[in-house]
Amino acid sequence: MTAEKALVFSRAGHVSHSAGRDGGASRLVARGLFKRFGSQEVIAGFDHDLEPGVVTGLVGPNGAGKTTIFNLLSGGLKPDSGTVTFADQDVTGKPMHVVSRMGLGRSFQDVRVFPALDCLDNCALYAQTVRETSLVRTLLMPRSTARLSGVSRQVATEAVEFVGLGSKKDNLAGSLSYADQKLLAIARLLAIGATTLLLDEPASGLDRRGVEKLMEVIRRLRDEGRTILLIEHNLDVVREMCQKVLFLDRGRVLAEGTPDDVFARTELAELYFGA
């Protein structure tokens, strides 16, 4: 990586090679999270210190509450009780747009790229600063806005190339294959400079080649020292990617450990695959 690019990365809060050093500071901690929807207790006491620089898997049957945990961690959804801290700050129920700018990025189970924007713009949107997004500045300081916008596009280009979509950067996201949309969703999180990534079923719906590509990207993110929490139903992916696994059922963590340990427990397999 050239010095110039490194500079660009640092503006977006990108950590690149040095992510590991920063990892300690932007630690994600959940304490005693409870959440009910109506009469249904969806999360019944979730405690976890996400280990920095490690890929942690979050597995469990459908409806276990995995996505709800992401919603609680990434802001927007307020727990009934309990706290979420990120980078030593209380972010419990803080708006998602605030939390994501702190470096906690999340993807969506249903992907949600912006179909009417091209790949580069999808990422540039995530890379853009608060100042660029000010209407007053856009109108009164056009030159500075255009300059900042150029920098975000550079950051976005880096992100798009990182996941291997460089050649498709001008294609509308809506026209991409499902697999490419999923890669783009990860690229967006790099563009915003996420040091901790919450990925919601990134491998679902992908064919073997898609899964291979995805695992390659996750591996490189891990090597850069980023912290990843991965919801995934594809247990082969979990086994290969994760150093650690949480098994969730009906809002409770039933087991925690290395993938081999957790998957060896037959009672969990029964829960998971349905007896």
Partner: protein
Amino acid sequence: MIYIIQTIVIYSLTYSIAVMGLSLVVGYSQIFVLSQAAVFGVGSFTYAVMSSRNITSDLLIVIPVAIVIGGLLSLVTGLPLFRLGGDYYIVASLAFQYVIIQGLVNWTSVSGGPPGLFGFSSPSILGWNINSNMDFIYVLVPILVLALGSLLWVRRMPYGRALVAMADDEAALAAGGVKADSLRVGVFVLAGTLAAVAGVLFTSFLNVASPGDYGISESILMISMVLVGGSRSLIGPFIGALFLSSLPYWLNLVNWSVYMTGVVTGVLLLLVAFFLPDGVAGLATSWAHRRRIHGQSRQAPSVEPSLGGQS
């Protein structure tokens, strides 16, 4: 005849300025505010009051004053407006519309009460008196170009990109660090500012300002211009403004009563609602667009539509 054409041009240009910003509100924010006429009226009375009290009739002074008043008013109403959940902001914008206009009606010492103010000195720019219809057109065109240029610029810049994204998926926008409500307030204020500018021009041309002209039905007319013309394109509001602001003339031409204006507008709105979601301007672009998006995505596996977005 030439006089009629000039008048039609003046009306359409003025209304284009008045609703141009509203197209961003309706088209991208997908919010229906029914208070545009109130800010239009506030612009009108800014000119009426300043001119009738002999403060100044120089547009280079009145327009900035109207921008500040219209902008601030939109800001203080927009901030709480978009905090409201669901569709209540529509009701709130109606209330805003109502309060402003009734406020003007009752603030007799300033607005002249229900009959309003009339008979001002003619507007000027740095000592040049704007008298003839052609003079007005010379003033309107550069203002319109400036307004259009600003909107095009905003659309090209990160703010505009965020607007496009917001129309698609607010949750994904928030995950990107952008707050949809701030974007909404921004376009709402921009729309209000442009309406206030148009109000100044409108009244300086008509030489009369009366609160009753800026009521709810005027707000509905303005939003109809955007919807009929097409809210997702910048040319749309022009088409809508050109046609609907001159509708009484066309009706007169075919010997219909001017009271049919409302009926025709209503029918047009229904037609648009059912057949042309992107308005008249959308007709032209939809063909090309369909080829661009749907043509390509047909080969791709279908993606779950991500509606809602409140997770």
